[in-house]
Amino acid sequence: MKTLTQLPDRKLPARELPRRAGVGFKAEHAQDIFGSKPAVDWFEIHPENYMVAGGPRLAMLEELSAQYPISMHGVGLSLGGGEPLNKNHLADLKRLVDRFNPAMVSEHIAWSAHEGLYMADLLPTPMTQTSLVQLVDAINTVQDFIGRRILIENPTSYVSLPQNSIPELEFISEAAERSGCGLLIDVNNVYISAHNLGFEANAFIDAVPGDLVGEIHLAGHERDANPDDNVLIDTHSRPVADPVWDLFDRLIARIGRRPTLIEWDNDVPGWDVLAHEAALADRHLGNAVAEKFEAAS
């Protein structure tokens, strides 16, 4: 699987994420990763976990970023919260971006802060003309402040908000067009939201504007225990489900390869399981190229 493209020189972090599989970095895998230098092409981290003054956590990130390209995927900026962004959080993010020079910076279309309170979850942003303007303002603020283009990720939805007046794909694409940011398409989120809200996942995937997509996420989900409601939950606690792989294939067959992350944040398994998922994603990415080639010849 490792012969699809030449591996980048790991001594110098790449300016861009390779269009191959990466893995969400977990401290419990540090020994496996630093000890055996696995053939995974890049890692993603949550900058919030490194917003500390010093110590072993930052030292670990120093070591990781010296050996692999890294992507900083934020969960705490609250871009979709309709209120000014927290200045301290932005400053903390900029410090990390300046120090580690990640190949990519991304955030969610969601909110977690409200009037000084922080609720550690990705809460749903209403999709209206007004909230779109607010979101674009927030993205511009971040991009201006850290001096880089970012990617924004499509949300996982459990409820359809009665306020919504713009379809999700239109909302996120328009936010990207207006702010100049790119899109991070989480295929698992598309699958879950389509299931929970009752839209067509294939139609969504087919309409994603490929030129805006800078990264793809894949993760596992679970069915809620509630027997009366067939709802899927974005748990990041299992292998990627087959229908999510199918949507992924469908997306990359049309738009081509992208840096693709395997996310696993709960019930984290041993490193070998994650390495296997990453190898699987690389195989799918390789097949997408092969199919394109066959179709062209």
Binding site: E48, G54, G55, T130, Q134, Y158
Partner: protein, 264 residues
């Protein structure tokens, strides 16, 4: 704009409401259990952050009871914007005021120790004072004013917190610590001269010595005198060497009057 504002207000209020079935008006009727997914994520996130910061407290009370403690605690401490990395600062004080103190009187002090470990682990990096830094200064040691290393804290307790913590966190490969825990006061020095957090049990003399130096600002000579007054068995030379090995002092020190101060 006002409609959006009331959406965010209502959603946030319902997330924080003590009633477990609170639902904001923006969520359609019959979807209470879906709103509960968000509520559960928010609470679970805080409980897990607290559990990660206080793993020994969690072991001592068990996962189920820890969640019940966390449930009460999250009402009293809201999270800092954007990150849970240092969540739980007030947990020891919360435990000290909780009925659990009747059955586990040492629990709050174990929490203080774990908080110190977290803060020491994440505080700014700095060079510790090492024996080599003192070469050629032997005749001025008495006048030396030392500061605590920034990644260093002292936790004193009426309970044997070092023994309890160690029993709950046995070192891999070491002989299993089946020694009984003696009920006595213990003072622990938590250090991180480089990347490893270490803990050291201090004697009475060592505690007085270190406090006199780093909190009262006394010079080495006077700190020794105080320590010897408090503890006739205090071994000055061995203890000073031990503190240096622990990385308890900052590399910057002063020698007032005479030769000025070290400007490293």
């Amino acid at each position: 704009m006002t409609e959006l504002k009331s959406f965010y207000d209502g959603f946030a209020d319902a997330l924080r409401a003590p009633e477990p079935d609170a639902v904001p008006s923006s969520v359609a009727e019959g979807y209470a259990h879906r709103f509960a997914i968000y509520r559960n994520n928010v609470h679970r996130g805080l409980y897990d952050a607290l559990g990660a910061a206080y793993p020994t407290v969690r072991k001592l009370v068990g996962d189920g009871f820890f969640d019940r403690l966390a449930q009460g605690f999250v009402q009293s401490e809201t999270a800092r914007a954007g990150s849970l990395a240092l969540y739980g600062e007030g947990f020891a004080a919360f435990l000290a005021g909780h009925p659990i103190r009747e059955s586990l009187p040492y629990l709050a002090d174990i929490a203080r120790l774990e908080r110190a470990r977290l803060e020491v682990s994440t505080s700014a990096d700095a060079k510790p004072l090492v024996a080599g830094d003192l070469e050629g200064l032997e005749d001025q040691l008495e006048k030396m004013i030392l500061r605590a290393h920034p990644a260093c804290q002292v936790i004193a307790s009426d309970s044997p917190i070092f023994a309890i913590w160690t029993a709950q966190n046995p070192v891999e490969g070491a002989q299993s610590g089946k020694t009984s825990i003696v009920q006595r006061p213990e003072t622990v020095l938590v250090t991180r001269p480089y990347m490893q957090v270490d803990m050291h049990l201090l004697t009475v003399g060592q505690t007085v010595f270190f406090t006199a130096l780093t909190q009262d600002g006394l010079d080495l000579g006077r700190a020794c005198t105080e320590a010897l007054q408090a503890d006739a068995n205090f071994d000055v030379i061995a203890s000073f060497a031990e503190f240096l090995t622990m990385g308890a002092f900052d590399a910057h020190f002063d020698i007032p009057r005479g030769n000025g101060h070290d400007d490293e």
